[in-house]
Each structure stands twice: as C-alpha cells, then as structure tokens.
C-alpha cells in the first residue's frame, strides 16, 4: 500500500494535536483544579424530596444556606418551575470562601447554571449534584434552568448574590441561615 509522504506528515501532526489537546485538558483538570460534578453527591429518593421529608435523607438537608463545620453549604431543590431557594428569594453566599452546592430535583430533570459562568450542572431526580465554587467578587448572578422541564420551563430562573464575608457573617443566627424560600 502506498501512503503518500504528505499523508504521513499529516497523520503525525494530527496525532500530535490530539495529544496536545488531551494534555491541556489534563492540566486544566489537575493543575488549577477545575472541579467536575461527579458521583460523590450520592443518590436520593425523589419522593422524599418532593414531600419535603429531609429528616429521612442523610445526604441532603432542608433547602437553605448552612454553615457545616465552618464551611458554607447550600441545599437547593429544583422543581417545576422554581429553585428553592433562589427563585422567590435570592441565595446569599460569601465571597472568597469555598461554597458547596447540593442540588437535586423534586420532579423532572432540570439544569442549574449561573448565567455566563462555568458553574453548570444537570439536576437529575434521584441524584444529588454536589460542586464547590469560590466566588472572587461580590455581585449577583442569574440562575437559569437550562434543561427543558415542561411548558413553563422558560420562567424557571433565580438569583444568587455574593456578599462580602463581613456582610455574610453579619447575618443573624449565622450558624444556620435557613431560607424560607419557595412555594
């Protein structure tokens, strides 16, 4: 079989390009530590989420913002067509500190995206999506449900506000800031 010299060159260049791509992604994942959503949030009974029986789940709490062992954790339930908390009341988190989100669904599939950022996760009934974010700047972000979830999907959005640490600590009862949220 005759393989043209240019073909061989091209083949080599293509392989090199591919390996380079993989290398940059490995670097991106391992070096600066871009966190991926993985399976460490565990599974959950969607029925219990729908009925609010959070006392029966060990990897999810009643929706709201908490401080657990000194770290900020946010528990969010997505349901047709709102985020609790997030939609009727903005989620408030501190800047320059790791915030861990736990998101699950009470009904169908949803999405959770802070518009224009790489904070992006699917929300799948039966699964808890867990991911950590450190916000460098104060300000607010829109929360968009980016997965079609029914006829009112386009109304499903919310807001997250990043406040300075001092403001966040100023909140009364700083140990467990429960969001009353939702419907």
């Amino acid at each position: 079989m005759h393989v043209h010299r240019f073909e061989k060159l091209w083949f080599g260049a293509a392989l090199l390009l591919i390996v380079a791509f993989i290398a940059t992604i490995v670097y991106g994942a391992a070096g600066p530590g871009v966190a991926m959503v993985s399976d460490d949030g565990g599974t959950i009974d969607a029925d219990k989420v729908a009925n609010g029986n959070f006392n029966q789940t060990d990897n999810f709490r009643s929706p709201g913002v908490y401080r657990e062992n000194g770290q900020v954790h946010v528990y969010i339930v997505a349901r047709q067509f709102l985020f609790n908390p997030g939609t009727s009341q903005a989620i408030e988190v501190p800047a320059n500190e790791q915030v861990t989100f736990h998101v699950t669904s009470a009904d169908v599939m949803h999405g959770f995206n802070l518009a224009g950022t790489n904070v992006n996760s699917m929300v799948i009934p039966g699964q808890v999506a867990t991911f950590s974010v450190t916000f460098d700047e104060t300000g607010s972000h829109g929360i968009v449900c980016h997965e079609y979830c029914g006829s009112g999907h386009h109304t499903m959005a919310g807001k997250l506000t990043v406040v300075s640490q001092s403001q966040f600590e100023l909140a009364p009862d700083a140990d467990a800031v429960e969001a009353s949220g939702g419907s």
Binding site: A14, V37, V108, N118, G142
Partner: protein, 591 residues
Amino acid sequence: MATEHPDNVTDAPGETPEETDESYVEIDGTERRRAFVDRYPNAAQAVRVLFGVSFLSFAVGALFGLVQALHRTGVLRVIASADYYTILTAHGVLLALVFTTFGITGLFHWANTRSLGVAPTSQRLTWLWIGTMTLGTLFAGSTIVAGLFPDIPASADVLFTFYAPLEAHPLFYVGAALLIVGSWIAGVDWFLQYREWRSANPDSRIPLQSFMVMTTMLMWYLSTLGVAVEVVVFLIPWSLGLIGQVDPLLTRTLFWYFGHPVVYFWLLPAYMIWYTVLPKLAGGRLFSDPLARVVFVLFLILSTPVGFHHQYTDPGVPAGFKFVAMTNTMFLLLPSLLTLFTVVASIEHGARQRGGEGYLSWLRSLPWDRPAFTGIALSGIMFGAGGFSGMINAGMNINYLVHNTLWVPGHFHLTVGTAFALTLMAVSYWLVPQITGKRLKLRGVAALQPYVWFLGMVLMSNAMHRAGLAGVPRRTAEPEYQQFSYDTVVGGIAEMQMQIALGGTVLFVGAVMFLAVMLATWTLSPPNANLRVNGELPEPLSTATDSPKVLDNLKLWFAVAVVLVVLAYGIPLYSMVADGILSPGSVPFPV
C-alpha cells in the same frame, strides 16, 4: 449523439466532467440509457420513496425552525410560549431523526447497490423496512402534533431526547422504536446484498461504498442497542403503566450511549459522499482508497465509547469515566482530520486536472456554479468550523461554560444541520436525476441555493455560539428573565438575537429553494430525458488492491468496538443498576 460520450471522459466544449451524460448502450439497435433508474428500477423506486419522506420532513422541520428562530429572539411570536416545546420537539425529531434516517437509508440503498452492482435481494424485505420506518414516523409525528390541540388527549412535548421522567404518550416511544427497528432491517437488506456479491466475487476487495455502508451499519447496530433498551425495556412499559418507575440517570445514560454515535450515523454518509462523489464532481479522483477504509474502521471502533462527553455535568457519573470518554473523543478527531486531508487533496487534484495552478489559485478552477459541487464543498468548510466548536465542547472543563447554552445548537447546525443536511441536498442535485430519470429543473435556483444556506448558517450559527458564551440557554421559548440580564463578551444580546432571526430566515429561504427544485424536477421534468449527469465514479489514485487485507475484516473490527464499549461503559452502567435497575426511581410526569 449520446454514444459520443464514453464514461468519464469528455471534451465537448462547455461541459465539465460532472455535466457529461449518463452512459448509453446499444441494445437491439436502439440506444438505451444506463442510469441508475434504468439498471435498478426497484432500488431506484425505494430510494425515491425514502428521499420523498426525508424531504417532506425537512420541509416541515425547516418551517418550525423558522418559527423557533423568530420566537425565541422575540422578533415574531405566532404561537404561545407553552406550544414552543411542541414545535421544538417536532423540529428535533423530524430533522435529527426522520430527515436524516430516511435520507441516509436512501443514500445507502443507492450506494450499496451501485457499488456492488447487485440489485437488492428481496423487494419484500425492502418494503418491510421502509414500511416499518414510515409507520414509526407516523406514530411519533402524530403524537407530537397532537400536543398542539388541547382536545386530543395525546402529547409528546418531550423534545427529541425524551428524558424521563417527563412522559410522552406511549405511541411516541413505539414510533421511535419502529424507526430504529426499520433501520436495522435495512442493514440486513444490505448485508444480504453483500453476501450475494461475495459468492460471485470470492477474492475481490469489498467495493469502497459498500465497505462504508457496512462499517457504518455495524457501528449503528452497536450504538442503537442503548436507545433500544431504553425505549423497549424501560420507557414503553413505564408509559403504559406496567412498571411504576424508571431510573432517570440510567435512561439518560442509555440515551447518550446512542446519542453520540448517532452523530456519526449522520456524518459518515456525508463522508461517503465526500470521499466517493465529491472528487468526481471536482473533476478528479479520490486520493486514496485504503486511507478511506482506515477512516471508516476508526469510526466503527471509536464512535460509541464516548457518550459520557454529553454527561460531563451529570451527577451520578464518576469523573474518571468522563475523563475516559474525553480521551476517546479526542482520538475521534483523528479520522476527521484524515478526512480533511483526503478531501482537500482530492479536490486539488480535480482542480489541477481542470487546469488549475498555483498554491491557492487552483481554487478558482473549481466548478463553483455547479450546485452539487458547491453544496458539498461549502458543507465541508462549515464542518471545519463545526469541528472546531466541537473540540471545545469535548474539553471537559470548557464544556462547563457552554453546556446546554445556545452554543450547542450553534455547533450542531454546522454539523448535522449543514455537513449532513447540505451534503444531502447537494448530492440530490446530482443523484435525484439518476433515480427518477428526470433532468434537474430550476438549475439557476439550484446553483444559488448552497450559497444561501451557507450565508444563513454563518449568521445563525455564529450568533448562537456567541449568545451561548454569554449564558443564553438553549431549548427556551423566552430566554429573557426578570432576575438578571446577560453580560456579553462580544456584541450585544439584541444584535445577536437579530442575527439569529435573520440567519434563520435566510436558511428557511434556502430550504424552500431546495424543495422547489426537487418538486419541479419530480413533477414537471419529462421522464426519460438526457440527464446531464453521469453516475460513473472514477477509480481512486491509490486503489485498495495493495492495501492490507485485514482492513476488510469487518468481524474483527466489530469485535474490537465491542471490547472498547465494555471497557468504557461496563463499570459505570453496573454501578447505576447495582441498586436495582429501576432505582433511584421516578414516577412519570406526563407532559
């Protein structure tokens, strides 16, 4: 007169090789045309029916595309936003599943028959699969459309990905299953044809087009297994109430097990045209037949163990397996990059045969006024851009920025929406005369059409990519929210919206132009004309004869593909089903 046109050669002034007549032979003293329709009338009829259904779906799908482009940009809202999702389901199903599958099976039926030189073995078998696929389309299509009428108690507004636990009418899932089963039987039809050819040609290499048809179908069998299990084992019984719950992550994973290889099911037929027909249309020959075989074997092996790259942002899937999928995906770039080389080299060869010279000025010698050539060439250029945005999707970390934003439809309107769709349209300008026996009508409209599609897609896709970077979600009737407004990187949201609406409108015009040419050719052109196209495909510069025989060992490559799938999917699928195949379970949420 016609006898002065031997195959492949022409020196008549004003005629390009693409424009020579079909071959004629003398039988009993009369000149007989030997176009595809004359040699294989039954196969040609089957291809006509397949293309008919394909183009009809395209017509409806394109109209809905226009409705979407105008609606979600706020330019014109003729439907209620709640109905947007019915329209979007129809657009996705009709274009991504029906237009493609019927168009592809039509192309394959032609290509396998042409290259083996053997008529399909059983007409009943052919009609069986065409009937099965058509019935499936009618079932799925009618349940979707029923969603527009509140009085009809059926609905299927679940989009073409039909993620559980949103639940469609059972007929929707049955329809999807029938469409796939029909395509399986189609493959049997082609393998039987091959077997017949093989018994007459025990020592020959598999003809190239048939090789491409069969490798693609093997990939298709392996990959459709996922969606078949999803639909038949889980969704149909669940929507009928026979089982109470399904595991949404498991069904979604089964969908994406199929959902990436399906894009190669769309792409490989386009590649087949690029490899085997485009060089001829450019006036040259395919550069290398063995390399084309290598490319298709690589696709067979690598297409399926990559589906998790659609689930980078999914909870419940271990990060390590996302990583494996990413690596495989990057290696899938290899056959596409090789294709790029061969296609460009073959076109250049064609241009030089036509007298082209210089480093780049040979480009001017190509037949840019011939729609079959232009359409395919432009679709290749767009695919380059689509490949680039695809590499970005495939990078795990950047994916988090664009997942489920408008970037994604921006990407796949370049790939399936142009690389496949425009290739099918373009090759139809050349092929439809051969399967109908009618000369192409409205040639001026046809000559312009690929440019119109190209322009529309540049506008729409570019703006979709940019809007996606700003965070504008896909699959949304009204992407404007009370809670916030978007920060854009380049340009403003209003300008992007206008460009999407304008691009969508231009695309729709392009679709209408194509359909007008087809309709006019089919209905107005007299039968038994001189076709002005020639179905002969020239020999490649480097033929298969001296390439390693192992390339044609389809059983071996299929086995390798199965092993890779088991490696990529075995453990994660096992861990999803280990807690019970229906748990964590979800009850249906009817739409």
